[in-house]
Symmetry: C2
Subunit: 155 residues, 2 copies
DNA sequence: ATTGTTAATGAAAATGATTTTCATTATCAT
DNA sequence: ATGATAATGAAAATCATTTTCATTAACAAT
């Protein structure tokens, strides 16, 4: 079943209607590799569907997060950011966040070793604290290439 | 040099005045193991120093974060949360966040292996992306013991 | 101990992200 | 094609955080 149709079916199952705003927002997120905020998504969506309201963007993002189709992040810049959850493990990646310019970079090297540790950790957590892990998140904060050279030029 | 006095000196160096609100807030954070929000801190501080305003709490937390004395987290519940940075490596720990009740648990098992991986990762990041890592963060999302049993009782 | 400079404070207003309300519209099972 | 009702958009409400500004307090110099 091709993309849109698959979503339509998937959502019908939970007494949901597959509407144009939902299609547009999911489509946008599935095409970008950026970590977009509601306002950014709204701005982008406006270009092709001027009728869609910011409120609907918020509601749709909530729905998609609850449905497990996208991920929500709080990188600490005052707004939430969203990312399409790609199929399977391939897409597993973590984030580098530049503390100066705020840009976010995807990072997916060494994920094998990291995942092994994470699995091991999850097992411990389940046994010791009886905590049922559903998801995890690793992030590195620091200075991106650009901000580093900018800084030394200034000093 | 005992606690308060040490801070007083440390802050003088950066043309800062060591004031009563700063003392009170740092003192509170250094005693608790909770991850408190500005409003929670404000509420607690009020009990002993009714004069201190919420604005000052915000400003002081910013100062302490910039000074590297405390850490700021965004766990995604709409407010930032703060934690005293304890001395040395001993205190290195990560977080378990219950997606249902929002409670946050400290976790510090297996940190050895995790730290080894993190170091390795940092080296790669530095080489490949020229990203200078200053800090990192690992968090697990899931259901805490209590919420799990609550759920099965309801189902 | 007193004093002057000015960093820090608190109250109120402003801002900005997110949520709620409610009348209207559009989806989709029948 | 139609009815039930889920979804929408605009406006208002909320809530966390920041800014403004007149007043206060810290502390270096005396
Ligand atoms: Mn990403
Ligand atoms: Mn902690
Ligand atoms: Zn940067
Ligand atoms: Zn819980």
């Amino acid at each position: 079943m091709p993309g849109p149709k698959r979503w339509r079916h998937r959502f019908r199952e939970q007494v949901c209607r597959w509407t144009m705003p939902r299609e547009a927002i999911l489509d946008l997120l599935s095409r970008t590799s950026k970590h977009m905020s509601p306002k950014e998504i709204y701005g982008e969506i406006q270009k092709s569907y001027p009728g869609i309201g910011l409120t609907t963007v918020y509601r749709t993002l909530d729905l998609l997060v609850r449905s497990g189709v996208i991920n929500r992040f709080s990188f600490g810049d005052g707004q939430s950011r969203y990312e399409f959850k790609e199929g399977r493990k391939q897409s597993q990646h973590y984030h580098l966040i530049c503390t100066q310019c705020g840009r976010i970079f995807d990072y997916s090297d060494f994920v094998e070793e990291e995942l092994a540790i994470v699995r091991k950790t999850e097992a411990i957590l389940a046994k010791k604290y009886n905590f049922m892990v559903q998801d995890h998140n690793i992030e590195f904060y620091g200075l991106c290439d650009q901000c580093q050279s900018q800084n030394e030029r200034r000093s």
